[in-house]
Each structure stands twice: as C-alpha cells, then as structure tokens.
C-alpha cells in the first residue's frame, strides 16, 4: 500500500482498553519480543487479537552498541518518510542506523494492509546540543517527536511513536502472533532487556494507532488493561501542567503513562508514590503510614490524578524498574513471577507459564488493591510493596 492509510481528518475519540491482555518481561540478558508475543498468544481468550503494541527498552540486537543515541520509532508512507528525513536533516540530526523489520512476505499481512515503512532510526544529536544536559536533550527529542506527529497526523503519513535513547516502539493492527511472524520479530535484530507488549488495538471505534498502548514519554512507559473512568479530569489536570508532552489522549490509558512521568520526572517522587497518587489511601488509612504528613498533602494536591474504574497497570521507568499496580478495588487480573535474572508481569497465569516456565510457582505474586510489585533494575529482585504497611 502506498500513500496515506486513511483519507480525511482524524476523528479524535477516546478509546477504552478493557479487553487487552498485557505481557511484560524483564531479564538480565537480552531476549526477543517474540517471547512476549508467545505469552500473549496463550492469553488469547482474553483479548480479541486485534493488534500489537510493543515497547522495547535497554536494547540489544542492532542497537546494542548505540545506547546513548536517540531512536525514532514509527510508521510512514513513502511521502511521509521523505518528509520526515528532510525534517530530521534540517533539525541537524544525523542518521546513524536504521532498523526495519525483515518482513516475511508469506505471512498474513496486517488487517489494515502493509504500510510502506516500519522503522526505528538511531540518530546522532545535532552538534549544538551534544553537550547539553540530559533533561535539555530529552525536551528537544520530545519537541521533534511532537512536530513529526503534527506533520503526519491529518493524512496519517507519519506516526512517530517514540524518540528517545535505547527505546524502540512498534505498533500495528492484527493478530499479535501473525504480526510477530510478519515482522520476523525472532530474527535477532531486535532484542531488549525490558519489553512491554499488549495484544489489542482499540476496536471500540475506528482503529487508530496513536490510541494503542504501551504509551511512552521520556523514558516512562505504561500499558493498561481496563477502563479509566476518571479520564477527563485527569486529562484536564495533566494538560494544564504546561508540559508539551501531555497531549494525545486518544486512549483513556495514555494518562497512566503521563501520571508516571509527572510524578517521577517532574515532581521527583520515589516510584512507590505512583501508587499513592493514582489510588490514594483514605484519610484514616494514611495515619498508619510513617510519612503520613507528606501523604496527606500529596493526596490533596494530586487529587485530580486519582484513577477510577478497573485497571491493571504495568510500566517501567528510565532506571529499568518494571512494576505492576492495580486499581483501588483490584478489578482486573495481573500476576508477577520468575526468578532473579528474569521476571514476567502478565495479565494471566498462562502467560507467565509461557514466559517463565521454569519458575517456582509458589513465589508467584498477584498484586492486590494495596500492593505494588516492582522488579528492580536488571531483573535482580521482585519487591512487594504494600501501601498500607510501608
């Protein structure tokens, strides 16, 4: 297929992610995203096999030696790619490496047809910004990604999913296993130590790739199984923070990633406070915590970021921690298991059996309403953190 995928203006709608299944793996060694896809496939009864979203972090394969360079992941039409390349050149970014999937032409094509270009391009920073701080570089990368998004949004000639060092994003419509075969995800060119995968496109309305999670922003990433009923007030609060990356919101799940970004990067809170922000304790429960004074202030000041509805959230932070949290009533499934060196965080136990079959099952952990499961960077340890007792 050439040209744009869909003519006419994009209808901005909110998508709900209630039928997804989630598959996250983190390991000390590089592994293939196909492992996530195979785990997703075991949970197929729980998702409709309508799509695949992948975010890979701490990359091996082609990118193992390019860790410090920003990687732009996306999809483009022929015209879109030309426009993109011209733009990047004009911005002073020098393309160092381009990964493209080694597409298996015998495998079934994606439901919406094969796109012209799936790519992950590593760039060298423009000379003028090479010596700038990490934060300044991150803001520059964000600005470029948003500019590309605007350029290709109307005619869908460009989808820019992420532009950040050591990170690749891939999203497409269709059955996850078929897509894995189509992209030949097991060819060794794309590997990572942290991979988040989600097995569903939002099929409530017309399929739209920007509504597909996992969502990534400046090193922070989440994916969700659920419905965030508090979406509108949260979105309004985030967009009113004045941070340029807080936009999009084609899915109600995107705010989970941005809340993570806001609390961790902008407010510099420790990771466990993510749980305290999205599902705050009641006033009386706060009394049992050592830092009750601080928690009370946080609960009040960040009240609009309290989530609601059934949601299981899996995410990672720039330091390589991977976590799972549940909504305040624990209305969605979610299980964590493995051993030091490799852990998996899945919607269902069958996914865990596929991804880390050799684990001690008695150590499996299903986070409940007050819990947060955190896999330490490098998959060294599973930390069970309880909101009530810590």
């Amino acid at each position: 297929m050439t040209g744009s995928l869909r003519k006419g203006p994009v209808v901005q709608r909110k998508y709900y992610d209630f039928m997804c299944r989630l598959s996250a793996i983190t390991a000390a060694e590089y592994f293939s995203p196909m492992e996530n896809v195979m785990a997703l496939n075991t949970m197929k009864e729980g998702h409709d096999g309508s799509g695949l979203g992948l975010v890979l972090r701490d990359l091996g394969g082609d990118f193992a030696e390019l860790k410090s360079l920003p990687i732009l992941s996306g999809i483009a039409s022929d015209a879109g790619l030309r426009e993109l390349d011209n733009f990047m050149y004009a911005q002073g970014f020098e393309e160092v490496h381009m990964w493209q999937p080694n597409i298996d032409s015998r495998a079934p094509e994606p439901e919406t047809g094969r796109r012209d270009h799936y790519f992950a391009k590593a760039y060298d920073y423009p000379k003028a910004v090479k010596n700038r701080s990490q934060a300044e570089k991150e803001d520059l990368l964000l600005g470029v990604r948003l500019a590309l998004r605007v350029m290709g949004e109307d005619d869908e000639s460009i989808f820019a999913f992420s532009f950040y060092p050591d990170t690749v994003t891939l999203k497409e419509v269709g059955d996850p296993l078929e897509l894995g075969q189509f992209f030949r995800l097991d060819d060794g060119s794309l590997e990572a130590r942290i991979i988040l995968a989600q097995g569903r496109q939002n099929t409530n309305y017309d399929i739209y790739l920007y509504a597909c999670h996992p969502f990534f922003l400046q090193g922070y990433c989440t994916m969700t199984n659920g419905e965030n009923t508090a979406f509108v007030p949260i979105m309004e609060f985030l967009t009113s923070r004045g941070f340029p990356g807080y936009l999009g919101y084609n899915s109600d799940s995107e705010v989970f990633a941005h809340i993570l970004h806001y609390t961790q990067r902008q407010l510099n809170y420790p990771l466990t406070y993510y749980k305290d922000v999205i599902t705050p304790l009641a006033e009386k429960e706060i009394d049992g915590r050592k830092e009750s004074e601080a928690l009370r202030l946080i609960r009040r000041s960040l009240r609009p970021l309290c989530i609601d509805g059934p949601n299981c959230i899996i995410g990672f932070t720039p330091d390589g921690s991977v976590f799972m949290v549940q909504d305040a009533k624990k209305l969605r499934p979610g299980i964590v298991g493995g051993a030091p060196g490799k852990y998996a965080l899945m919607s269902e136990e069958c996914g865990l059996d596929e991804a880390v079959s050799q684990r001690d099952k008695t150590e499996d952990f299903s986070p409940m309403k007050y819990d947060m499961a955190i896999i330490k960077p490098g998959a060294t340890e599973l930390k069970k953190w309880n909101q009530l007792t810590n």
Binding site: F18, T229, F231, E236, F237, K290, S301, R303, C306
Partner: protein, 564 residues
Amino acid sequence: MDPATRLDANHELSLREFPYIIRWRDDRCTRCGRCTAVCPVNAIEPAPHVHRRVFSEGGLPNPKAEREIVHVVKQVTDIDRYCTGCGTCTLVCPNEAIEPELNPQNKFLTYKNKGGVPFRRGGRRNDPTASTVDQLKFTRISMLTDPALDAGRHEFRIRTLLGRNLPPEALPLKRRGDRLVVGKTRERGQAESGHIAHGFIPPVREIYPIRIGSMSIGALSPHMWEGLAMGVAYLNEIEGMPVVMCTGEGGMPPRLLKSRFAKYFILQIASGYFGWDEIVHAIPEMTEDPAAIEIKYGQGAKPGDGGLLMAYKVLKLIAQIRGVPEFVDLASPPTHQTKYSIEEAVAKMIQSMSMAWGFRVPVYPKISGTKTAMAVLNNLARNPYAGALCIDGEDGGTGAAYNVSMDKMGHPIASNIRDCYLDLVAQGKQNELPLIAAGGMGKTGNLAANAAAMIMLGASAVDMGKHIMQAAAWCFGDEYNRCNLCNTGRCPRGITTQDPKLYRRLDPDKVAERVVEVFKSADVELRKIFAPLGRSTELPIGMSDALGVADPAIAKRLNISYVC
C-alpha cells in the same frame, strides 16, 4: 345615598385577582373554626351569609320563602391579607372541607404594591420550570466496557476537600531515600511560590460534599436551628458522615460555640457583622476550630441586596447571640461598609479571619451568581489565603427580600460554575481553589442528582437551604409563590419564626431525624449515580464526559454532550 363607587365595588379586587382561591365546602364544614384560627395571614374569616330559602310544606305545593343566617368561611379580598396558598387550613380541617387552589390567571403582582411598597416576601424564585441543573442526565454508563460498580457492596469515598490545596509543584516535600517528608525549605527545582515563601500550608477539611447552606439563627426559629444542628452532629458522630452546616449571619449560641460540636459549623460573617462580637469573645474559650469561615458578599436570591431581620424577630435569645438590643430592626447593608476593592478589602478580610484562628481554619467568600464571578475567582486564585469560592445561583432562597430581586435578579448556577471551573482548568488551578455551588439544589426533590451534576460540572461541593427546610421541616414553600411568609415571622410550620406559639409546632427531634434521613438517602443515591459511571475512589469533580442534556444550546454552553 351611597356613592356609586361603593355600590358597585368598583375599586375593590375580585377573588380572581388573587393567587390562591379558597375552595370551601359548605356540606363538609362543621364550623369548628380551626381553619380561620390557624390562617397565618387571616385570609379567611367566619362570616354570616343571608340565604333566601324556598320550601314547601303539606301535601300540595305551597312555596314559601324565608331568610336564614348561615355561617360560612369567607376569603377576604384585602390584598394585604391575600391567601398565600400555604394550606395550613387544609392541614387542620377535620373534614377536608377547605383547600386553597392555585389561580394561574391571578394579577397579584399588579396590585401588591399598596402604599408604594413593592411586594416583599421570603422563599425562592417563583419559577417552577426545571433548572438547567435539573435537565442534566448521567449518560455515560459503564456496562460492557467496564463491569459497573455495585452501589450496595463496593466502598465509595464520597468526600470532598474544603480549603485551599497547594499546587503539587509547590508542596514542601523533600526526598529522603525512598520516602517523601515535609521539609521546611524549598527543594532545588521546586517551583517558586508564595505558599512556600511563607512556609504556609493552608488548612483543609475533608467534608461531605453536600452541606447545609447558610441560614441564620434568627431567620430560623430556635427549634429549627436546633434540629438542624442535632442532625448534623448525629451524622458526624454516629453515621461517620462529615456533614457541615453554615450558621448564616448572626452567630451561634456561645455554649455551642465553645463545645466540641463547633467543628461541624461554618461561621458566616456578613455585612452586618451580627454575632461576631460574641464569637470573637468566645475564641479564647473555644475547644475546637470551626469547619470554616464564610464571608458573605452576596446571596443568590437577592443579589446586591442586604438583609433585614425584622424587629419582632429579635427576641431575647437572638439579641443575646447577636449582641444587640431586643426588638430593633437588624439591617445588614447590601455591601460590606469597609469594602473598597476586592484586591484590598477582601484580601484583608480573608487574612484577618484567618489570623483570628491562627491560620488553622479555611476562609472563603460567598458571592451571588453573576457574570463577574470570574473576576472574583481570578482574584481569589492569586490569593494564597483564599480557601474556596462559594457561588449562590439565582435559584437560592432567602428569608426576606423584594420579589423583584428574587424573581429577576441573579445568574443561573450551572454555567457560572462551569465557566469558573474551566477558567481554573486553563490555569491548572482546578484543584487549588474548590468551587461550592449553591442555589436550587434539590429544587424538584432531586438533591443527589443535582449535587452530582454540579460536581461533574466542576463544583467540589454543593449547599442546600430550601430543600432541607422542606425535607426536614415540612416547609410549604414552592415556586408558585406558595406560603413564602418567612419575612413576616408568621411561618405556619414554625421554621422561620421567633413566636413561641408557632415554633412550638416544630419538634426539633423530628427535624434532626429527617436531616439524618435526607443525608443518608442522598448518600445512597449518589452511590447509585457514581456506581454505573465507574466512579468510587474520589469524587468525580469535573467528570463532564458523564453528563448529557437534551438541549443543544445548553450542551454547547456547558461543553457537555448533546443527547436525544
């Protein structure tokens, strides 16, 4: 000879001019006299009628006529004694022989200005049409997208915050390892803020999102006020619902002020400062801080107009609480006499009141609904000591006002709150300054639905006044000008009177019981609204995607969805 004007009664009003016409049934009436005795305005009176009766006795027709005197209950046509339609006569009649009937063709307002005095009354805006708030529906139901919550089984946190919340960027938090602690100095990179500069963390209360709005002791009878206060204390201490009520202007009994119950009350200061001498003197002996201080600048029912407690309501108790002599008119001016500008006087007043309680009590202004609300809002948003903004819409009630003020002045609450909320959103301050919506909550009995709709438009809490008077004390008033005698001190239910003969009719225990019932049932209804929307963890403030309305103009104005 009588002049023609008397013979043909040409300068008198006919009953058709009156808003209510008494339907009296001769065949049922036992002439017990209860109705004429109880009528608060003497609109009916016993009267002799001369009837000509034709009868025949014997086997053959032999008609004879005789005159007889019959006692009837007669409605007077004196405009000062117009039937208010309260229906107290019906209430006391043992035989259902009497009933006022609304006369929609009345020309009451045309004539109710005798002596050049316009019609004054209590009550609410006489507009029975559904308010905008009442037209809003909750149209975003989670069923298959999300298993709906169970209103009866799941935990719901129906609470709100009263007081100013610091922006997250300005919280004085320090990171100590994996924990955050409250630090005294600003962390590097933390936003500059007046709050931090002063090391001031504003006081915040967690309260129930439906409050009892400001109705003064003085406007209300002792039994009514006592019943409300008892109900509120019960809700807090037995039911665990942190309901608060506002005193209105006029203080509160010093013994209560010094008691542990003081924390359930919001003390109001208004332009007359009534009761504040007593309050200020009680501060050293207070064992609990009040819930908040409300500075009243305006009232939705009578925007820009002052208050007046008539001399005959100022009995010994009221005089003592307010610190004034007995039996004098107590006028609250339309504006605070010290007020020069919002920047100067309002800020000063907020700070003075904050200082009186050591900055431990939220202080906020209440204004009447107005197109200029956003100017006030933005001023408060920049004032780190302002704890909230309460806006009282045109459907608010009052104990006494000119009819024209009530019927024609003011601003509907829905768009006023929505505009203010969206203005705060644009500035990122929607969580900093809570908006409290008042005026017409529960106008048609849908208290919980009205409260939920206002919350989803952006209010943090709502106030009710008339609804609790009706629900807890059987107030007769409605939007057809029924009763509305609050200003006369002749309230037939004993709610707004200082006449012991009248307020003894009202049992404070029963009022308290009804207050509890009203809040408990509203709480169940709020769960029944929030559960299908999938909201239970926090109050759905600003959850405008849940709202729909079948009027495209309203939908557009409020930025919610149009449904049909």
